[in-house]
Amino acid sequence: MKSLAERPENPVVGVTVAHEHGAEHATGCALYTDDLVVRHQNVLHAWPLQAPHAHARVTSLDVVPALDVPGVARVLTAEDVPGINDAGIKEDEPLFPSEVMFHGHAVCWVLGESLEAARLGAETIKVEYEPLPSLITLTEAIAAQSFQGRQPTVSRGDVETGLANGTHRFSGEIEFGGQEHFYLETHASFAYVDEGGQVFVQCSTQHPSETQEIVARVLGLDNHDVTVQCLRMGGGFGGKEMQPHGFAAIAALGATLTGRPVRLRLTRNQDITITGKRHPYHASWDVSFDDDGRLQALRATVTSDGGWSLDLSEPVMQRTLCHIDNAYWIPNVEVHGRVAQTNKTSQTAFRGFGGPQGMLVIEDILGRCAPLLGLDPTELRARNLYVPGQSTPYGQPVRHAERLAEIWNQVHQRADVRERRAEIEDFNATHPDTHRALAVTPVKFGISFNLTAFNQAGALVHVYRDGSVLINHGGTEMGQGLHTKMRQVAATALGVPLETVRLAPTRTDKVPNTSATAASSGADLNGGAVKNACEQIRDRLAEVAARKFNIHPDDVRFVNGTVTGIGFHDRQMSFAELAHDAYFQRISLWAAGYYRTEGLHWDADRMQGEPFKYFSYGASVSEVEVDGFTGAYRLLRTDIVHDVGDSLSPLIDIGQIEGGFVQGAGWLTLEDLRWDESDGPSRGRLTTQAASTYKLPSFSEMPEEFNVHLFEKATESGVVYGSKAVGEPPLMLAFSVREALREAAAAFGPEGHSVLLASPATPEAVFWAVQDARRALAQCGASGSRDARRDRAASSSEVGSADEAASATASEDVPDAAATAR
């Protein structure tokens, strides 16, 4: 029973339960940070003054006119900061900047009796700017050699020899877009000095401890002077890991200076134009395969667009390098990473944290090279999957690699891949203007923070004298169901019914020094801590019960609110009676729990070690239908088999898988961030800064048939109740959609046509890929001759130069008779 993974009899974990606040969500009574404002009086509202330049020096700032606007209470500027004028942990993000670093950068903030008053006040402030040269695109930044932070390299083997020895060698490039989090709840903070004299900040944050720390630093206070509470978030997805701190600090600064509650909630336009996003990337690569299509070597340089400050760009890049292999064994690897500095929002964490970008590179390579190798892309992927005994380029053994093949085969069977391929072939033969295709892609994703120190968590568990239980832990709820799982963990560990366990909101004065709820690790870490706290209490209670039953404490059993002895079912008492007895025996009924993930080590300089506790595995099959006239497409069906270990909460886990998948599909197909790259007056302005221009998936993008299966008998030893993390990995299952679109476009062309597909693969991008395929077909005639294959590969570079297509070329560098003879 002491093992972290082992489950007792009748566990509450593993039971299908709905989100603990589903009823509150549906009735509108679940409160979010900005819903608290109406409960307070005398509230001031904050509005930013956003700079209209991508890069400029602030030469003068005159806030006096704003103070004459009715309802304006105060304008906050750098001079008001008693502590450190910085919103980040790297001290490269001035809270009130003297140099504007991106279009929309907030220069100062106005506090008003109403939001309208604050906005009108901001309109009157006179700022003079001295515009400076700016870098907007990755291409510009690379050309200018504008980089920031570390430039890590992950390597193994001898890539030069590997490339030379491979019989099929290709090279290419790809540039692909970022992603706006578009959590439905924009950033919100609400701060006041509370009745105890502390600065109290209600904040929509994934990282309350760091928000607390930044607020304290800005105010020149100690951490214990500031308490941050996160009731819940209306979505986070990584966008509230680092980004909330500055907004919380503004609200707290206003509250301490005015003595009044200050509310700061960004409008959608402000949120999109001020806060960071998923990093866009550029990659150039050389790859080689042997005659069987097995990867021999990969050399690549990947460059992320970090925006104006470092934020989390360095660890994001680390994770990119640690996932460029996805699920594939590549014996010789040398991948260089670097973070470009541009005059854009400071890109940040987003579900997958660089992993998806690394994996996109290798999936794009395989999707492009398969036709050139004369192999079906699914077959090419299958041949390269890791097998037991192999390790990653950074030296971590791929434990449970056999699950990859098992999942791969299961998803093929569940999705009827063989039958459907035949149906697709028939369909395409009879529908010249509409083609369907199906693709299968795998996921392997490492779980744990790369930075070892973050892999710790705390919890506080109270048992009251009536046997009711109240738990607190350091994790935050953003919809992922963490709190639901934590209640299940506590109910299981204490052997009580789920209804008797209540969870109180996350706040820094309950559990200190917490890590961000991020890296999919929320349940692993906090579950470990909650379980630890519960077991301390249960062990003490077992002694009380043992005395009463006259048995050994090890033989006491706690099941569903009843305490009994092993084999002594005639003697039992309720958990509430036991708690009552324990109190009168002066036994402590509360405990602080703690957990640290064991066995991790990571050398960030050498990029070697075992940074991950384990890997999550999955595979998906997606079928799409492409309209050859427009490039528009539908996602007809998706089948997923995914490894969540032994699920703590199946309904929650399936929700994470489905939601992650659709979010990933949004990134890869639909969500298109566009900046003004011209030299005009609005250079650097984000042109997709609203829901009307930045489109996220709606009902029409959901797979019309959607089957998710949790991989069975998947106990993960060393993790709470045998489970695995689930937050991020499913996002990358969506590569099957992108690859299916590639194959559908290919179906308009001749056999062996390598399709270049821009990312996101919008209908326009798919249309150009289809046109390219049709052109190739026309060029080589209907014969589909093998000799034509290389010509087509070479010609495909033409489309890559178009602005909406990936600037990418796939050409076979080494003329090879074997390749064409296959």
Binding site: G28, C29, E764
Partner: protein, 508 residues
């Protein structure tokens, strides 16, 4: 007068001093009803959705879902509004709670994760739950999703569950967490409302009458006149005072300007309940559609008699928007994109402009004079749209956008042609959106088609000509090159889609 009266979740009361610029959403939240949320402030995400009691004929009411983030609160003077809080209650310290069936299905099936969008989803779903026409008879006879149905017909299809739930009812609601599958399952699991259900019973009574509201507060005036005559009085008064006037019906366009561009018009005249603007007449030679009918009302009222409009409606914004938006507003704002203008151009429609002096009719093709400019004089109001009958036999609407539900077109193409017994084209009308400063007719292509045999060669030649129409631009939605290509492709696609039908006719 500065008081308005509203019935919110069954409780009627007066509210004093509400600014004409206060949105319904902020008004409700200020009352402590924080269930409705702001997600986008553009009517795109639906997190703000609430239910309003709207007329369903003379003696019945229809619970109608609308975005609360767009219209001003004063526009709901005298009306009944229900929010997620009014539908049901969650169990908690204040009692055992009573969830509405929609709330129960959403809560228990994993329909909420972060929960922020959920109150809006619940309201949109409840409107469809109470839709009188909804029945399991609407359910598809066979599986009409996934791999069993081909895409071309799909866009305009109503996607219904076994209980008749039309998924388009949720097309204006975005969820970033769930991936939608559990929300769909919750919607499709709903049964029929109980006979004792108060909201269902409310539908059997007449809807609240419009209030003739006049609110005049610091620097802002909101007036809902009783009839067209009074409307002109206010129009002239504002002109005399040299005040800028904005007309508002559903506020789906003005609301965005207020929220995003911070427009604060000094005088707003609400025309949505003017009887003169709410006609719907079908005669032998024309259909007249009142400019202030919501698109949902038009859709129901026409009952499918204009197939091209039935292709348009499911692709026009979302149900939440169509429940408020009007032809008058969409044509009046003069967006170069549409989506109603290209379709109405293809239908050969005209607009009726009313003034003190009476009506005048202007062909829509002659209505626009430049970017958001038209021949409408300041003393005129767009009263109705007229569609001549009979309709052309062959018509299609091709909306090119990134997303099938609720997106703005990068290009919109509507085509209507008539082919005679000898397979020659006798009339052709092609309306285009998104390729010029105004919606335009592809006159050159129309003329090139007329008199030609309706063959592939004709279509290919005309398509090449169509590709050269307008002056499309590069923007965040699409490249100019793609827009031009889509003009060409739309005619090729139209021709291809006509073929099976024609073949069928021949075989009969």
């Amino acid at each position: 007068m500065s008081e308005i009266r509203l019935t919110i979740n069954g409780h009627e009361r007066g509210f004093d001093g509400v600014s004409p610029h206060t949105r319904l959403l902020d008004f409700l939240r200020d009352q402590g009803l924080t269930g409705a949320k702001e997600g986008c402030a553009e009517g795109e995400c639906g997190a703000c959705a609430v239910l309003v009691a709207r007329p369903d004929g003379e003696d019945r009411t229809r619970w109608t879902s609308v975005n609360a983030c767009l219209p001003p609160a004063v526009a709901f003077d005298g009306q009944e509004v229900v929010t997620s809080e009014g539908l049901g209650t969650a169990p908690g310290p204040r009692g055992p709670g009573q969830l509405h069936p929609v709330q129960r299905e959403m809560a228990t099936r994993g329909g909420s994760q972060c929960g922020y969008c959920t109150p809006g989803f619940v309201c949109a779903m409840a409107a469809e739950y109470y839709r009188p026409e909804r029945s399991s008879a609407d359910a598809p006879a066979h599986d009409q999703t996934g791999t069993d149905v081909q895409g071309e017909e799909h866009a305009a299809d109503h996607e219904c569950g076994p209980n008749g739930f039309d998924l388009h009812a949720l097309s204006g609601n975005l969820c970033r967490c769930t991936g939608y599958r559990p929300i769909r399952d919750a919607a499709y699991a709903l049964g029929e409302p109980e006979d004792t259900d108060l909201l269902r019973r409310r539908q059997e009574e007449p809807a609240p009458k419009p209030s003739y509201t006049r609110i005049d507060t610091a620097g802002a005036r909101f007036v809902r006149p009783a009839d067209l005559g009074e409307f002109f009085d206010h129009l002239e008064q504002a002109r005399d005072e040299e005040q800028e006037v904005r007309l508002v019906a559903g506020a789906t366009d003005l609301g965005v300007e207020v929220n995003i561009r911070h427009v604060r018009p000094p005088v707003v005249l609400a025309v949505d309940r003017l009887d003169e603007l709410r006609t719907l007449d079908v005669s032998d030679d024309r259909i007249e559609i009142g400019a202030a009918l919501s698109l949902s009302e038009v859709e129901r009222g026409l009952g499918g008699c204009v197939p091209l409009l039935d292709q348009l409606f499911p692709q026009f914004a979302s149900r939440l928007i169509r429940n408020a938006a009007t032809f008058g507003g969409n044509l009046g704002t003069g967006s170069p994109i549409g989506d109603s203008a290209p379709v109405l151009l293809a239908l050969g429609a005209s607009v009726v402009l009313a003034s003190r002096g009476g009506d005048r009719e202007v062909p829509l093709a002659a209505y626009y004079t430049g970017y958001r400019e038209s021949v409408r004089r300041p003393d005129e109001i767009l009263r109705a749209v007229r569609i001549p009958l009979p309709l052309a036999d062959h018509a299609a609407f091709h909306k090119i956008a990134k997303r099938r539900f609720d997106d703005i077109s990068s290009v919109a193409v509507a085509i209507a042609i008539q082919v005679d017994d000898a397979a020659a084209v006798t009339s052709a009308r092609i309306g285009l959106g998104g390729v010029a400063a105004t919606p335009i007719c592809a006159r050159e292509v129309e003329e090139a088609l007329i008199g030609q045999p309706w063959t592939r060669e004709t279509a290919v030649n005309a398509a090449a000509l169509l590709a050269r129409q307008g002056t499309p631009i590069d923007d965040m939605r699409a490249s100019a090159r793609y827009r031009s290509a889509m003009l060409e492709q739309s005619l090729l696609k139209f021709w291809a889609q006509q073929q099976p039908a024609q073949a069928q006719e021949v075989s009969q």
